[in-house]
Amino acid sequence: MSTQTTTQTLTFARAITEGLRAALESDDKAMLMGEDIGRLGGVFRVTDGLQKDFGEARVVDTPLAESGIVGTAIGLALRGYRPVCEIQFDGFVFPAYDQITTQLSKMRYRSRGRLEVPVVIRIPYGGGIGAVEHHSESPEALFAHTAGLRVVSPATPQDAYDMIRAAVASPDPVLFFEPKGRYWSKGEVTLGGPVPDAGTPGVLDTARVARAGEDVTLVAYGPTVATALKAAEALAAEGTSAEVVDLRAISPLDVPTVAESVRRTGRCVVVHEAPSFLGVGAEIAARVSDECFYSLEAPVQRVAGFHAPYPVAKLEHEYLPSVDRVVDAVDRALSF
């Protein structure tokens, strides 16, 4: 396969489409499965055109059963295939929760490395799109709590492209959380290039500094990276220089990149849509207090969802981390 590259302006959703296309082209064992992903191209059109190009055996409209999708993906993977499953919405992954946590995550471990199940599970997640119940949730911590699963979430079209390719190439199961509220955001994407090498740490293992700064570190991933960047912009206008770290991976967590930043800034604010209680921010706060104790000027702040079910759409902007709430948390950290 050619390793030539081209650069295009693409939406986030389209960048994933192109990443999937590249994976289907470079690996004839790669396949896609999910509800409405074929003819319709998925409810978000992420797989638009792929069934036409790769056929019904490689882009499969499955029966309406998430446990069935993931369970059969495990079987296909045991037989040498690399299934990429689409879960239609975050709230509908739970019928598959058993297969993911009791089977998918543990197959390598319990076979002492003899078996490999390189399944990718794509989950559009997060809120802010005015949807009805079960269509706006952020269940990533539930999966990150399970050893054996890699859990990642891109924040830019380029990362979406690079990370979905790396996810398909990964020998481990990957939970690929797509911030659906960002699907229509656009960016320059360099397409092509070599298939990511699973052996070397890359986009699935490392955080990225999305904006450099000196006074405070904002840690975000997926949908809240854009919120953090906007907050950094607002803070800059007030004379505060915020660094934004985009985690990209939640499991594994790139603690060194976060710690290096916080040691410089002395302050850390974590931003995610999922509830703060026992969430990713709690883990980061613990790691930061471990690694940066003598550099900290203030306790780690969290701006996150509440310990309540995701609310009705009319109230979701009260629930979701907003620029105002991030700025407020930074103020608290600065005035501590």
């Binding site: 509800e35 055996a57 309406l64 069935g68 739970f94 019928p95 009805v132 509440f306 310990h307």
Partner: protein, 386 residues
């Protein structure tokens, strides 16, 4: 049999399965060799009864039209039409007794209409201002469930409760109770629905599984879910099963009445496949032209359930122009009340986010509520940078 790897087998669900039908598309009564018992079940229905069913169907369709345009105007976040399925919903719901309980999915607007759930309340969920919208115990109608198939198990468990309450087979029609659960063709693939059939069967639970096979699960035709006609799924679990013409309100009424009689008297569950058609899009977010033919839509338009009942009324002298005009005016007024009612719904107070998470105090919720209250009052009136 041969199976290829393209997601289909060469055995398509046969469309040749006989349907229970009591009224043909042209409005004439169907008299089959072995449907005397079912015909008996509708024999008592008077012209007024038929008109009442017609009214239910017309108002349900009006509800659909109004809700769809409210969504277009930005008053609703989303809406899922029941268009084309009015006979299945009204016919089955009209067979229910007051003490029976309904577990709907999310498209059963005709059922809710018959049960008396307030039309404005029915749209609260779709407006994004409530996750439910009505008091389930007021009309014995559980809330809509959006996770496909989950509620089939709840319905079965509820029916097991009715058994334990001794309200099956009492012989007293005013006391015997049962449950009806509604779900789609796509839902029959879910584990939960299959487990519900298992539990209902082994417990002989008084529950009716009413599957509206509207031919589509979003973009996937029924052939992606099953290689046999859907009703035969029920048979596989040892549950008496029947396929009924879902666009024939009398046939739907009759088979549901029969199933309820079985449930009430201790005969256990029944699986009904109402063979019908989703005439509209899956929801207001969907574009069916991407995956289905206009010819198919046209073919089903000719089997419109509302028109069929009109044809029956006309054929049997039950149609009256003055009455029809009155109904039209009623539908007009109904639509106006619905529009006004929905527009008048505000947003709930922000702090309700923290209400009803638990029955009693919970430290995390309490702390977050306190923080939220303080944050809201401190930032009230400040410019929103979001």
């Amino acid at each position: 049999m041969k199976i290829d790897a393209t997601g289909g087998s060469d055995v398509a669900p046969a469309d040749v399965t006989p349907l229970v039908q009591l009224v043909a598309p042209d409005g004439s009564r169907v008299v089959g060799p072995d449907d005397a018992a079912l015909r008996e079940r509708v024999a008592h229905l008077t012209t007024d009864d038929l008109r009442a069913m017609y009214r239910d169907m017309v108002l349900t369709r009006r509800f659909d039209d109004e809700a769809t345009s409210l969504q277009r105007q930005g008053e609703l976040a989303l809406y899922a039409q029941s268009r084309g399925q009015e006979a299945a919903q009204v016919g089955s719901a009209r067979a229910l007794a007051g003490q029976d309980y309904v577990f709907p999915s999310y498209r059963e607007h005709g059922v809710l209409h018959v049960r008396g759930v307030d039309p404005v309340d029915r749209l609260r969920l779709y407006r994004g201002e409530d996750h439910g919208g009505w008091d389930p115990n007021e009309h014995n109608v559980h809330l809509y469930t959006l996770v496909i198939g989950s509620h089939a198990l709840h319905a079965t468990g509820y029916a097991m409760g009715i058994q334990r309450d001794g309200l099956v087979g009492t012989g007293d029609a005013a006391r015997d109770a049962a449950v009806v659960t509604y779900f789609g063709d796509g839902a029959t693939s879910q584990g939960d629905v299959n487990e519900a059939l298992v539990f209902a069967a082994v417990n002989n639970a008084p529950v009716v599984f009413f599957c509206q096979n509207n031919q589509w699960a979003i973009s996937e035709p029924t052939t992606k879910q099953s290689r046999v006609p859907i009703y035969r799924r029920g048979e596989g679990f040892g549950i008496p099963s029947v396929r009924v013409d879902g666009n024939d309100v009398l046939a739907c009424y009759a088979v549901t009445a029969e199933a309820l009689e079985r449930a009430h008297s201790g005969g256990g569950p029944t699986f009904i496949e109402a063979y019908t058609y989703r005439m509209g899009a899956h929801t207001t977010s969907d574009d069916p032209s991407r995956y289905r033919d206009l010819a198919e839509e046209e073919q089903w338009r000719r089997r419109d359930p509302v028109e069929r009942l009109e044809a029956l009324l006309r054929a049997e002298g039950g149609w009256d122009e003055a009455w029809a005009a009155e109904l039209e005016a009623e539908a007009e007024a109904y639509g106006e009340r619905l529009r006004d009612g929905v527009r008048a719904l505000g947003a709930p107070a922000a702090e309700t986010i923290f209400d009803h998470v638990y029955a009693t105090d919970h430290a995390q919720v309490a702390a977050e509520r306190a923080w939220f209250r303080e944050y809201e009052s401190a930032t009230a009136g400040e410019e929103v940078a979001r």
